[in-house]
Symmetry: C2
Subunit: 453 residues, 2 copies
């Protein structure tokens, strides 16, 4: 039997970061990662294997990271977990006894019962190298692709595919707009416009009646009577936590079927932690369990776990998870952090919205000037920032991180009035008109109890 | 005599923002701005009137902003200020009596006694429309330009000029590197490399012996014996506050000759405030008076003043000024916020430096991937972030704002370990390797009192 001080099950982003962080924090401990994938893929890069990336092979993480950090990598599947004796069994290798165990089991695609979903050329988005190689091959030969689901994975796949010549791409989304969990309507519609500019056919507010065809799918029949021809159907409905391994243990699951964890990512069983998509996430604002599955969130959780294995050393403020998100659609970057206005309202928050638009250069006559649009959502009475959405050039993605930090630091509308920033003519909006500040001022002007004296 | 509730003297960024902010906060007050420039220019845009901008005319602020906000604009020069009776005299118009006065007098170029500096084709960088028109005209005809001073204005002018065909551009800098007040050596040298790639000749560590020529300058003789031919010499040595107007008043000046102000930008005389380059700035970390003259800083001060004219309403935390700065040199964006390592050391801080490099896309095989380099400077014992420098693609400019916020919020090295960010394959570094976090972890690993248990 092999022995290790720290065992990580799962080699995706959360498992990798947990192991690397453990190595930084505990220089003398032995660390082992068990991963079932012979060839891992970068999950965030999967939507881009159809056009921007030359091949599925180029969507690979650095292969030497484990060896460089003196972490033992075992490529095998864990078949059983015995938390009493702290032993895991593997399909092809000897058992491993651990002192501390980190579960980074990830997630898999949701499958919903659609008529015809079992047909030959209906695909899911799996984090599986060989599967993706095959999917890319069929897409290369296809003329019509229908993507079912307009969440961010579906949208990104459709956008990347739309860059292929002679390929017709459609998105079918049940909700009123694509990206509705991340974006309010005005931003979601801007995203749809950019997709349509690339020729993507978007059908929203409809359900699938049937995937038609004899053995092989030849199209998708919608409940509005419309028919979309398809040689490839991609189902991108969402993901659910992979928790099969813990089903026979005493490790508790939470409300949505993910592994229950405390603030330090500790499960209900001593010396067993869980991070990433398989672990339950609590919302920053409400403390509710929310199904946020982002590599960025997973990495943050993994850093907390990897720093706190043997003692609680990096104190985590009890803040919950802030979903922050960026995407790029046909040259337009759209980002969001915290709550959308519609989610804030449905959670019962009394909100004030501040908006601003400004060019990303000053003067706006400089070459390549683009427009920035920002929306900030504040709590009316306290002035606390609850959420932000923005779109514009590439720098929007780091502006999103600035606003994510602002939420984490509980900034109010007043903090923006005295905020100190850096600006540059070729790089940002003018200091006189910086849209984060003007949007906050717009909100402030609507807070009568604060501004009327 | 004209009467106004709020009078702003100066129509640069700080004057404009002070007036606009006052309008937002005090809807029923009359507001007047007196500006001497018939045609104002955007100060930050001046370096780019030589190549990127089509003309000096295109470096103009929005001309309707005052009228749109019901602010009276008087174009005239103030000749006298009487703070006892609260009256200002103007060259060509009637006197104006005010209730609250905001001085936004700006700054002018430093002139140092160099032999030959009075020659015909030796130019300063003035925020003066007609002067800049003439300068652009002579640059259009020139073959050899020598820029004296390698601060950010000198560097940006040289970089923009280097985009003109058949123009040789040199920078002469007394210090060891260009940009030494904003950047540590490794970042300053990277900036110099990018300038040299564009053909700019950089001579550092030298002084000017003489600007040679008979009436018209024909070159610059350096104290190392070198001679640089020149049809145009541009002196860009720095700026000093314009305070002539207050010299006959009781308004106190501070150590560096700027107007003394309290935290709410109030001068030593009741009802008189000062903002921007003419007002004294206190350093964020030490409280020392520092000669920071940036439009972004000026705008922040103007917002504080404009919000607090009649009562102190927007409470400013006593934090001082954080110099934050971004520039773009031949496609490389370089940013900094807070203290450089060398300044921190010379101020007596015990520091730890964390460094990281990472591609700005993940996987790095995606098209147009560029490298990001980050340096974070922390206080060794407390772990507080003191400064950051970074370079890479355009998004660096907003990353700088995120780190400026982190300093303003007094984040420590531990906060970065649990920081929640958003990432995207086409837009940012991987979540597993986000360089702000890895640089912080690099610093943490050097803090033995914190990491050794």
């Amino acid at each position: 039997m092999k022995n290790t001080d720290v065992l990580v099950i799962g080699g995706g982003p959360s498992g990798a970061v947990a192991a690397m962080t453990a190595r930084k924090n505990y220089k003398n401990k032995s660390i082992t990662v068990v991963r079932k994938e012979q060839r891992p893929v970068v999950p965030c890069g999967i939507p881009y294997v159809f056009s921007r990336l030359e091949s599925v092979e180029s969507d690979a993480p650095t292969s030497t990271a484990y060896a460089d950090n003196n972490i033992d990598l075992v490529i095998d599947e864990v078949t059983h977990l015995n938390t009493d004796d702290k032993i895991v069994s593997l399909q092809n290798s000897e058992e491993i006894q651990y002192d501390k165990l980190i579960l980074a089991l990830g997630s898999g695609p949701v499958q919903i019962p659609i008529n015809g979903a079992d047909k030959e050329n209906v695909w899911l988005i799996k984090k599986d190298f060989d599967y993706l190689i095959q999917l890319r091959e069929v897409v290369e030969k296809a003329q019509n692709v229908v993507v079912i689901g307009g969440g961010f994975i579906g949208v990104e796949i459709a956008e990347d595919m739309s860059r292929r010549e002679n390929l017709n791409v459609s998105i079918v989304e049940k909700g009123d707009t694509c990206l509705a969990t991340m974006l309010d309507e005005e931003f979601a519609l801007a995203a749809e416009d950019k997709l349509r500019e690339k020729g993507v056919n978007i059908v929203t507010g409809v359900s699938i009646e049937e995937i038609t065809g004899d053995g092989r799918a030849d199209g998708v029949k919608l409940d509005n009577g419309e028919f979309l021809p398809a040689d490839v159907v991609v189902m991108s409905i969402g993901a659910r936590p992979s928790v099969d391994l813990v089903k026979d243990t005493d490790i508790h699951l939470g409300m949505y079927g993910a592994i229950w964890v405390d603030e330090y990512m500790r499960t209900s069983i001593p010396d067993v932690l869980a991070v990433g998509d398989c672990a339950e996430t609590r919302d920053f604002f409400t403390g509710k369990h929310v199904p946020v599955m982002l590599a960025s969130t997973a990495s943050a959780e993994a850093r907390v776990a990897g720093s706190n294995l043997f003692q609680l050393r990096v104190i985590r403020e009890n803040k919950g998870t802030l979903g922050s998100f960026s995407t790029s659609i046909n040259g337009l970057v759209i980002s969001a952090t915290g709550m959308t206005e519609s989610r804030a309202l449905s959670e019962g928050f009394d909100v004030v919205v501040g908006e601003a638009q400004a060019p990303n250069h000053h003067p706006g006559t400089l070459p390549n000037t683009q427009q920035i649009t920002i929306k900030l959502i504040f709590s009316r009475l306290s002035g606390t920032l609850l959420g932000a959405q923005m779109m514009g050039p590439e720098s929007i993605s780091e502006l999103d991180n600035m606003l994510a930090l602002a939420i984490q630091q509980e900034l109010t509308v007043f903090d923006f009035d005295t905020l100190q920033i850096s600006t540059h003519p070729l790089l940002t909006t003018a200091p006189t008109n910086y849209p984060v500040i003007t949007a906050a001022q717009d909100a402030l002007s609507q807070m009568e109890h604060l501004t009327n004296k």
